[in-house]
Symmetry: C2
Subunit: 485 residues, 2 copies
């Protein structure tokens, strides 16, 4: 069906435009839903409550706010037509990947249409010579890396969850490999975005894929991390990296948090190109042991990984061992082959579920702050003390090589006092990070929960500038309303 | 003097605001100049023709368009007050660093006030533990690296010219080290920017300096590369890097352009972490020999540099030599100590002056395109053919590790036919890059000369989006008008 036909079905374009400002949100009536259905087809739309509820929440503790309709578009032309329909009817648009976000980013606080992008999951263009791949929004990072296996290349950004790549672009995801390979901000080359009014934007120009440019404003960086508030990402060109010749992982336990974090700071300051350096406190290690059937010493611990040539690796490992030993670290427990390494990193990636398993039936909220590396020992020690004083369960795990860490708060949502204490604790933690020149979120985003903290972080003029950009690119405030600004 | 006093001198704020839209540009009368003088003091302002002409052009062939006034502010509060005065009087603002740009970025096409930032040249905050430094806008990269010498750290972005660091941020500069360390886009952590109306913005929040964040829209990336069209950069926090344990440079000659460029592509594809890989064609090498008193073989040549540990370097060099030898490259000519290396890189950085010396009295225009690495051999070979067919002098030099290269066009501005042929040739070159999925500028920026090419590169929706951003942040179009969009 053409756009014209779809819009006709919906009362005609000029009629839509004329009534635009008089009917803010919730113009989701039968006629409008029929218009959407005419574009995506009967099997790609649902108004069933169970489906809507499944799409109204992510993995955080934010309560479910279901959209009015869920649709599964199959190509960019459909996305564009659907966006125009929403635009003409002042209906909110919420892009949805895998629902693995941690700040309530998919919550439909003003109802509207959830665009589930998982049926657009093709790999469109792999160019091994130029180290790039173009993908549709719905493909996940594991599916991409599985596809790439024989090319000698991989996509290293790894937030733990098997998230969709455009969801990762939208939230500016990072994770365990960022200390070496950067975050989505450094690894997205170009985006195709459907703007709220249905126009299709290529942030760096159509099919362009250079290593650098100084042609005009950096639109790609503006959309990476915009959390679905500026447009719907329908295609991404990503930077790939060569699979390293050699990889080894190791685990090292320390007598204190300070010793583990001091080692991290010193490893980075020596310029060792470490690929992963993850901190887990004793509570987290204990939870991981129990959840994964492992038996690591219940002490503050670093999980490390080295990538390089065989010779280069030897040098990296030797320098790192010298540093950890000076700080009283244990001998390294090695994981050299793929299977052992997978076991180690699965344990790390399961931290969230391991923490939840500490109190069966509980819910989780993973906080996320990031500070300059030199402030890490201080903030982690203070935070640990605060957790004990607040009588809260919040094992600490983090990408300490970036100065980024999480407390995985495990709580009973029915215990109002505990909920209040968690909220107060996480606000104190974010403000502690801000007071140390840090940020209130290294990788989870602002979403619903951190808008006040963003204001404190970026200041009055910064927030005003962000609001100006939002108002310019999304004048009707239809794109994922209520998030970020 | 306070802002209030300065504005009073200038007729009162409300009066200014009321007449705002009726007097577009050129409200530069005695009263206005007195207002500026009251802010910066007698010695920091000039309306002398010679001074204005010196500020109305950069190192490109764009003709001189002098501003009406040149001022040298000494701190951010002065910049803010001066911007407010310009804003109230609808006078254009042109930020000026060292005037070493290559696309006419400082040309005052609508007159106005040139803000020469070189008296704000302090290093405000060096934090070696966190690998960052905060600088005022006027300090140059050489002065910064000289200051850093004993810290074990350095700032690697090196466009050749000893440009000011905030000028480099404004143009998104890169240069010879970008293949390993990234461009300004990857190395600016935070910017303080005075907006056209005088408000002071900290793009990542005041005094923040984390390695990563996902807090809100990426304002830092929006200002890097905006060429002074969105605001005046008054402070930058930059990422520093550890000085490598060992450095060696080498020169290698090749039987053909194709062989030199093929070697580059293969070195990158093998994942060798090369720090610099610069291509010079035979015409360029000949000019460099003559200008610098050197005697390299007059053949297509690569200048290479390796950074790392002593052991790591051995491995990098061995792999690189294997690749160059397979492609018929000469044995490496080594430059191991600092003095020899300086001689080699001075020769490379003097390429511009060496090219101009080919035809004494001539003017230069350095083109700048960037393509995916796999397309490099093809575009350089085609471009060389085009130069010969067009009967033009344009030695080729480039940061081929990024897919980025320049033809340094040497021409007689009085020869109208030659000027026309140069213009046609450089447009053909840019469109050749665009046709190969590339960009019309890898590092020089859009400035005055490439606005049409930017439209072709980014497309209709892209340009419309950039124009929306410009109109929102600079509603009176006072910031460096006529550049970029």
């Amino acid at each position: 069906m053409t756009l014209q036909a779809a819009i006709r079905l919906n009362g005609g374009l000029s009629n839509c435009v004329n009534k635009a400002w008089s009917c803010r949100f919730y113009c989701v009536n039968t006629e409008f839903v029929d218009g959407l259905r005419a574009v995506v087809g009967e099997t790609n739309i649902s108004t069933a409550l169970a489906v809507r509820e499944q799409h109204g929440r992510d993995e955080s503790m934010h309560s479910c706010k279901p959209p009015d309709v869920v649709i599964w578009p199959e190509n960019v032309h459909q996305v564009s037509t659907l966006a125009k329909l929403c635009y003409c009817n002042n209906v909110a648009i919420i892009p949805y990947g895998t629902g693995t976000g941690l700040e309530g980013g998919v919550s439909a606080i003003k109802g509207g249409v959830c665009f589930n992008m998982t049926k657009m999951d093709k790999i469109l263009n792999l160019n091994a010579e130029d180290f790039y791949v173009t993908v549709e929004p719905g493909i996940t990072r594991k599916a991409l890396n599985s596809y790439l296996r024989d090319s000698g290349l991989w996509f290293p950004v790894d937030p733990g969850a098997d998230a969709s790549l455009c969801g990762m672009a939208a939230t500016g995801a990072s994770g365990t490999n960022a200390v070496r390979y950067g975050t989505m901000r450094e690894n997205v080359i170009n985006l195709e975005v459907v703007l709220p009014d249905g126009r299709i934007l290529n942030t760096a120009g159509k099919d362009r894929r250079f290593r650098k440019t100084s042609a005009g404003y950096n639109l790609t960086s503006m959309f990476v991390g915009s959390e679905g508030t500026l447009g719907i990402i329908t295609k991404a060109s990503l930077r790939l990296h060569g699979i390293p010749e050699a990889v080894v992982s190791a685990v090292c336990a320390f007598p204190s948090i300070q010793a583990a974090v001091d080692s991290t700071v010193q490893i980075l300051q020596c310029g060792i190109p470490i690929a992963r350096i993850e901190f887990l406190d004793d509570v987290m290690i204990d939870a991981c042991n129990k959840f994964n059937g492992l038996s690591y010493p219940v002490l503050p611990t670093l999980f490390l990984e080295f990538h390089g040539t065989k010779n280069g690796l030897r040098e990296q490992v030797q320098q790192t061992e010298e540093i950890t030993q000076i700080n009283g670290g244990s001998d390294f427990t090695w994981a050299k082959d793929q299977e052992e390494r997978n076991k180690l990193w699965t344990a790390r990636h399961n931290a969230w579920y391991a923490a939840l398993a500490l109190r069966p039936g509980s819910r989780g909220y993973s906080t996320d702050v990031c500070v300059p590396i030199s402030r890490l020992p201080e903030i982690i020690v203070e935070t640990r003390k605060d957790l004990i004083e607040s009588n809260l369960t919040g094992p600490i795990a983090g990408h300490v090589g970036d100065g980024n860490f999480h407390c995985i708060m495990v709580l009973n949502l029915d215990d109002k006092d505990e909920v209040r204490r968690v909220k107060e604790f996480t606000d104190r933690l974010a403000r502690r990070a801000l007071a140390m020149n840090g940020t209130c979120t290294g990788e989870h985003g602002i979403g619903l929960g951190k808008r006040q903290l963003l204001e404190e972080e970026i200041g009055e003029v910064g927030i005003a500038t962000m609001k100006q950009i939002k108002a310019t690119l999304d004048p009707k405030n239809l794109m994922n309303p209520g998030k970020v600004v």
